[in-house]
């Protein structure tokens, strides 16, 4: 229910004003009634006293002469007045005249000294001599009636004045204050400032405070509308910019992501999702899981890299291989993590698969002998190093290095040309590969020098068997041109890696030494290095 007392200034002010008028009116009515009552009572008393003054001389004569007729005349005259209830005139103790009820019959209240009038009558010829007295009982009811009449008249006039004044004030307040304010309020309520509407100044208030108020409100509205418009324009501009950047972010070929301090994924772009193969569910912006959980299956090193970035406080990077999956090729990614403000980490991911591939190709190329397709000296060094590392990791591991030097190769080169020499080398390489297991390693480390690494082989018998197969393979005749074949030989030095403090260079030197000894002892022979169980 709508209470107009709460919602309407006019109703409220009128109600309050009427209340005030009512209270003030009643209070003043009561006061004026009391005052008028008092005044009227005093007036009545004065009137009665004056009445007695008027008849005093005659009463004096009547008392002086004890003239009953004259005294009765006086009493009758007094009784003409309606406010006189009873009169008694006595002279020297004798009742001269009596009108109205017996004095003694009146109640005590009417005979009170302040109410009943008793006038001592002096002799007309000697003021010192009292010759009688006049007793006058006022008519209480009549006086009361007159008093009430007079007080009512005064009170009603006052009440009427207050009521008229009150209504006047209400009228003024409603006309000059509340109505214009209500009008302004209603217009303000319905105003639509965005289409340029303004409040109209109420008629007659153009240059007063209400006019000023309306003017100020209009100015304020103008100001706010302008600010809002600017804000909106700015917002639109920002939106366009943001969409632009968003598009760049989303369509970049570089993966970009942002982690909060707890490692939670805050945002990432499409490239990032593709690189790390995020499930589609993670594409939404809600409840993104922890980054390390998302990439765990491809990249176990993520927590370590994050920890390093946080610890160093600067950009760190790592190459990550995302393994192949059915239908998806393996990819290499370069991840750069940069700490940004608030403990956040910004990640940039680039696909470096092509780079890695060409790098690997270059590496392989560098470690390969272009003529025979076998690993070259560089490839051999790497392999040797790795095998020694493996042996260090597992003390039971052994392997054997065979140094193979071709016999009579120089002559073929000299007699038949380099092309024939190259052909011999290629054929020998194939023969050596054939002579060993697939898991063994064959490399060409010099012009006519080959090295074989035999994994998990260290017993002399087994080694000798392999050596004989190698020598036999190398000794096969080779057709170098139609109708011409060449045969070469091979001298082999063997050295077994026994673990311990032995280095690869030492092992190589031992094998080399053993090979020279074999060569010195005649071609197609072999020797074991002295350290290799001789």
């Amino acid at each position: 229910m709508i209470n107009p007392l709460r919602t309407s200034i006019a109703v409220r002010s009128v109600t309050v004003l009427l209340l005030i008028v009512g209270v003030v009116g009643l209070t003043f009515f009561g006061l004026s009634y009391r005052l008028a009552e008092q005044q009227e009572e005093d007036d009545e008393h004065t009137r009665l006293v004056e009445l007695l003054d008027t008849v005093e001389r005659t009463a004096s004569v009547a008392c002086f002469l004890s003239d009953k007729a004259l005294a009765d005349e006086v009493a009758r005259g007094l009784m003409m007045n309606r406010t006189v209830k009873a009169v008694a005139i006595t002279a020297g103790g004798n009742l001269l005249a009596h009108r109205g009820d017996s004095i003694d019959a009146f109640p005590e209240r009417d005979r009170a000294p302040g109410f009943m009038l008793v006038r001592a009558i002096k002799s007309p010829f000697s003021p010192a001599e009292t010759v009688g007295e006049v007793v006058l009982v006022p008519n209480a009811a009549e006086i009361r009636r007159k008093v009430v009449d007079a007080a009512w008249l005064t009170g009603r006039l006052l009440l009427l004045q207050i009521i008229f004044t009150g209504f006047g004030v209400v009228l003024i307040v409603v006309t000059f204050i509340t109505r214009p304010i209500a009008a302004v309020s209603a217009r303000l309520h319905e105003m639509r400032p965005e289409i340029g509407q303004k409040i109209e100044v109420p008629r007659g208030n153009r240059s007063d405070e209400i006019g000023q108020l309306v003017h100020d409100v209009n100015s304020l509205v103008d100001y706010l509308v302008n600010i809002l418009k600017e804000e909106r324009d700015l917002h639109t501009q920002l939106g366009i910019e943001e969409r632009k950047f968003r598009a760049i972010f989303e369509h970049a070929h570089t993966g970009i992501f942002l982690l909060d301090a707890s490692g939670q994924l805050v945002s990432f772009n499409g490239a990032c999702g593709r690189f790390f193969r995020f499930p589609d569910a993670a594409a939404g912006d809600v409840a993104l899981p922890a980054f390390v959980d998302l990439v765990d299956q491809h990249w176990k090193g993520a927590p370590a890299l994050i920890a390093r970035a946080v610890a160093e406080g600067s950009a760190v990077d790592q190459d990550v291989k995302v393994p192949a999956r059915p239908g998806i090729a393996a990819r290499w990614l370069n991840v750069v993590l940069t700490p940004v403000e608030d403990g956040r980490l910004q990640g940039v991911v680039n696909d470096i698969t092509e780079l890695k591939r060409s790098e690997e190709a270059a590496l392989a190329l560098a470690a390969t002998d272009p003529l025979t397709g076998l690993p070259n000296r560089l490839g051999f060094d790497r392999r040797l190093e790795k095998m020694i590392d493996d042996c260090h990791a597992d003390a039971r591991q052994r392997f054997t290095l065979l140094m193979v030097d071709l016999d009579w190769f120089k002559q073929i080169n000299d007699n038949h040309g380099h092309q024939a020499g190259d052909l011999v080398l290629v054929c020998t390489a194939r023969a050596l590969e054939k002579a060993v297991r697939k898991t063994d390693f064959v490399a060409r480390v010099g012009g006519d020098e080959f090295v074989l690494l035999l994994g998990a082989t260290h017993e002399r018998a087994a080694i000798e068997a392999v050596i004989r197969k190698v020598i036999a393979g190398a000794g096969q005749p080779i057709s170098i041109s139609p109708g011409i074949s060449a045969t070469i030989g091979a001298s082999v030095g063997a050295a077994v890696f026994e673990g311990g403090a032995m280095t690869g260079a030492q092992l190589l030197r031992d094998a080399d030494e053993a090979m020279y000894k074999a060569k010195a002892a005649g071609r197609n022979g072999f020797r074991f290095a002295r350290s290799s169980g001789g």
Partner: protein, 139 residues
């Protein structure tokens, strides 16, 4: 001539003092039974309050036309119109009448001498042996 002026002044002063010094006395019949009368008794009798003399004889007060004003002025301190208004009230109520008025002192003395209850007033110098002074009213 210069000797005449003091004499004339003295003569005038004597006249004035004689007039001002005229002393009124209340007189009564020697057989009235009263030797003296108080001032209040005189007032009560002349203003009609008492109908009898203190001795019990019916009182008959009389006025004297010439001295009347002086007499009431001396007795009750009132002028004649007031006295007349006083009697007018009583006449209206029918309760009494003012004293009869004599023409001169001789007639007053005659009336008092011939009536036992009569009392009147005259200048002291007109008093005869036929009446008795019962109250003197010094001016």
């Amino acid at each position: 001539m210069p000797r005449l002026l003091p004499a004339a002044v003295a003569c005038l002063l004597m006249l004035a003092s004689a007039r001002a010094g005229a002393e009124l006395v209340v007189i009564a019949n020697p057989a009235s039974g009263i030797d003296r009368l108080t001032r209040d008794e005189a007032i009560n009798i002349f203003m009609g309050r008492y109908k009898k003399l203190p001795s019990g004889i019916a009182a008959l007060p009389v006025d004297e036309g010439v001295e009347k004003a002086d007499f009431y002025r001396a007795l009750v301190g009132k002028e004649l119109p007031e006295i007349q208004s006083y009697w007018a009230r009583l006449v209206f109520s029918g309760q009494g009448s003012p004293p009869r008025v004599m023409d001169d002192a001789r007639q007053v003395i005659e009336t008092v001498a011939n009536n036992k209850g009569a009392i009147g007033y005259v200048d002291r110098k007109n008093v005869t042996s036929r009446v008795r002074i019962i109250l003197a009213l010094p001016p």
